[in-house]
Amino acid sequence: MNCILPNRIWKFSWHWLILSFILLIPIGNGIYAYLIQIHEGLISTGMRTIGLGGASWGLNICYYIYFAGLTFGGITTAALTRLLKIKELEPITRLAELLALFSLFMAAPCLLSDLGRPIDGALFFPQYGEARSPFFGTFTMAAVGYFFASLVYLWLAGREDAYMCAQQDFSFKWFYKLWAFGYRGTEEENECHHKVSFWLALIIVPLLVAATSSLGVVFGIQVGRPGWFDALQAPEFVVLAAISGVGALIFISAVVRSVLHTEDDPYKDAISQKTLRWLSNLLWILILIYLYFMAVDLLTSIYSSETIEKVVTRATLFGPYAPIFWTMIGLFLISFLILFIQYVFKHYKTGLMVAAGVMVNFAAVLKRYLIVIPSQTYGTYLPYIHGHYYPTWGEYSIVTAAFAAELLLFLLFMKVFPIIPLKITGTRPSVPIKPWGKILKKAFFVGTLSFGLTLTVVGFLASARIGVKPYLDPIIPWSPVVFIIGVMISLYSPAVYEVSPFNFSSRDLSQPIKPVSGRKQE
């Protein structure tokens, strides 16, 4: 069993250093803007009170939903690749997992920067979090579920590569050893990993759909806010999240592909155009579904006679939000046409696919703006003045810093770990698992899963206060934490199955397997 390592690990070029330094500038600016916001309060933002001419949620919430959407798109792509065994997408599974994880890191500051008292938010939510609030789903299922789902995938799928890297003379060897977590490169371990990946995907996909729906529910259940109160919000959020995620993946995959080509890397052909084609075909189908949802939504609103719903729709279609709305529609339509025509004529161009991927992301951001803002500024039942919302430089700075930080995380990761799954050549040594080992593995898995699910249910019920007045504190203090730990343990139960050390005794593999470095070969 051998592998070829990519060129760029622990090799820092001038281009890389300059780009990283440039990215530090917007990050620093964002931190500065946030410190000013903490000092002055949210008056430094463009948000104001609803009814007094403002909108109480603004750009930070739009981008929180956007980044959460990218996370959903990334992890769902990775999970579906394993579930449906899509060979074309296999090279970009790690990119998808990283997109999910890093986007979530960026969603968190966007949400925290929206809170009036972020430290209290971080302290009180685990203590007093109430399950009836849609924010419960946002803070727990979306944040924690996404986080552990993407982390468990990244970890398990990267164990083999980490094992290979640990054999090299790289710095921070402990990091690779920790990641490999006892991996020895046997055929049985590999088989076990594929089995676990499949089952994990089967569990994770519905969980992620539920988590993204909970974001839609934050808006969808607000009876007092015309434009938001809509049963289609949850499915629309899921589809839009998938669109932005797939669009971003096309862009990132194309960038990584071009970087590998210029570096003349042994992995320069790892991401083929087939991968991009697959993603672009998925993208136009998703755009079509989303356009259908939007059309149904608009028709319902337009036919709603002289209600406030119609006021919001009119403001969106022909009022102050019309430029944003029609730009968004234009971007979606152009992207759809580009991708669909390519599909019909079977003639694909990477540049056009990337342009469509970027355009749908712009459109997704604009759409989120249109979801969040007009219902606040125009959607009041009582005779309040119509409001307006203009983001300030502080809000733009925080969002720009989030994008820059995400890119920097990608750049850093590329230098410490193979960003594309390593090609393993030769055969893996076979060490059959002993029968008692199999039984113990299953017992550990079932035990962990049962424990996790029990904690999840207990934590949820204790937070929900079913049967008593719902506005009191949780029955068990810190029960939201119990719920979160339950979700975490449940998600990690397949990992327990995979890493449990009952495969073989350590005597079975006395000789470590040494990979061949690509650089050395040249």
Binding site: L42, G116, Y471
Partner: protein, 296 residues
């Protein structure tokens, strides 16, 4: 017991716990004393459970339910007669002074940051807007940390220490009567010394709202409890700061559960309407109009 004895006892307990020495036990693996201990505990628990199931589990009991069982509990409501309202704004000023509402500041950056527990809309006639104190409040349902809750009096109140400033309640309120402290509140000059000591000031980053002058209700109840007299409707009618100040008596406060109260009678009037009744929030503020209907 001195420290040495305590230490010895501790060592005995720890040694006993980890001791490998087997204690004499029955064939069921339990001593008689142990069995008596367990039986006593569980029979005590069972007795407590039969007597009061919720209390035996240590559940926090809902005080409203407890009080309701004892007898009458008030349901505070308000009636605002739009025909009598002159739009003088006295209620707005009185509310601000009573509840330590910070002064609005001038400047474009402060537009939309005012805090108005009692707002006065003008469309086309004056329209006072306090919190509707809904019976099924949307703001309470969405608060992720229980900072907005219904208190023992059935009033929707805000726990400022608990509020994390997510402003979800502001989004959920269809009446837009919740306000956020966008920056640190300020009172010019010596006005800071005139703050009402019965009402806490709110820091930046939290949401606040009208509480139907909860502090005045509490003070009046305590007064009645001391003098052992019932709460009088006549006094209740002008208990809140806005009702007390209104020169035309357009605002009446009182107990909706008392059929003899003025507020209860007026809320049954054919002129009575409830704002956004169709949303199902069950507001406890009733408006009286000339036509019996209003399009605000």
């Amino acid at each position: 017991m001195n420290m040495n004895k305590l230490q010895d006892l501790w060592i005995k307990i720890v040694r006993g716990w980890f001791s490998k020495e087997k204690k004499p036990s029955s064939k069921f693996g339990i001593t008689r004393r142990g069995a008596i201990k367990i039986l006593t505990f569980w029979s005590g628990f069972l007795a407590a459970f039969i007597a009061d199931p919720k209390k035996s589990w240590g559940f926090a009991k809902n005080k409203i339910t407890a009080k309701r069982k004892q007898g009458h509990i008030p349901k505070w409501g308000m009636v605002i007669d739009l025909e009598q309202c002159t739009g003088c704004g006295g209620c707005v000023m009185a509310c601000a002074q009573e509840n330590n509402i910070p002064f609005p500041r001038h400047g474009k950056e402060y537009d939309g940051t005012q805090i108005l527990w009692m707002n006065l809309l003008n469309n086309p006639s004056p329209f006072p807007m306090p919190c509707m104190q809904c019976e099924d409040p949307p703001c309470v349902k969405v608060c992720p940390v229980g900072a907005t809750s219904i208190n023992d009096e059935g009033l929707v109140v805000q726990n400022y220490g608990r509020c994390i400033g997510c402003r979800y309640c502001m989004e959920a309120c269809p009446y837009s009567v919740k306000f956020f402290n966008w920056d640190e509140p300020e009172w010019p000059g010596s006005l800071k010394e005139l703050l009402n000591p019965d009402v806490s000031t709110r820091p930046k980053g939290v949401v606040e709202k009208c509480t139907f002058c909860e502090q005045r209700i509490r003070a009046y109840r305590e007064e009645c409890e001391i003098t052992q007299t019932p709460m009088k409707d006549k006094k209740l009618q002008r208990l809140t700061a806005c009702a007390a100040t209104c020169p035309t008596r357009a605002i009446i406060f009182g107990d909706l559960n008392d059929p003899e109260s003025e507020v209860s009678k007026l809320s049954q009037s054919p002129r009575a309407i409830k704002l956004l009744k169709e949303l199902g929030t069950k507001p406890k503020v009733t408006y009286l109009t000339k036509q019996g209907s209003v399009k605000p």
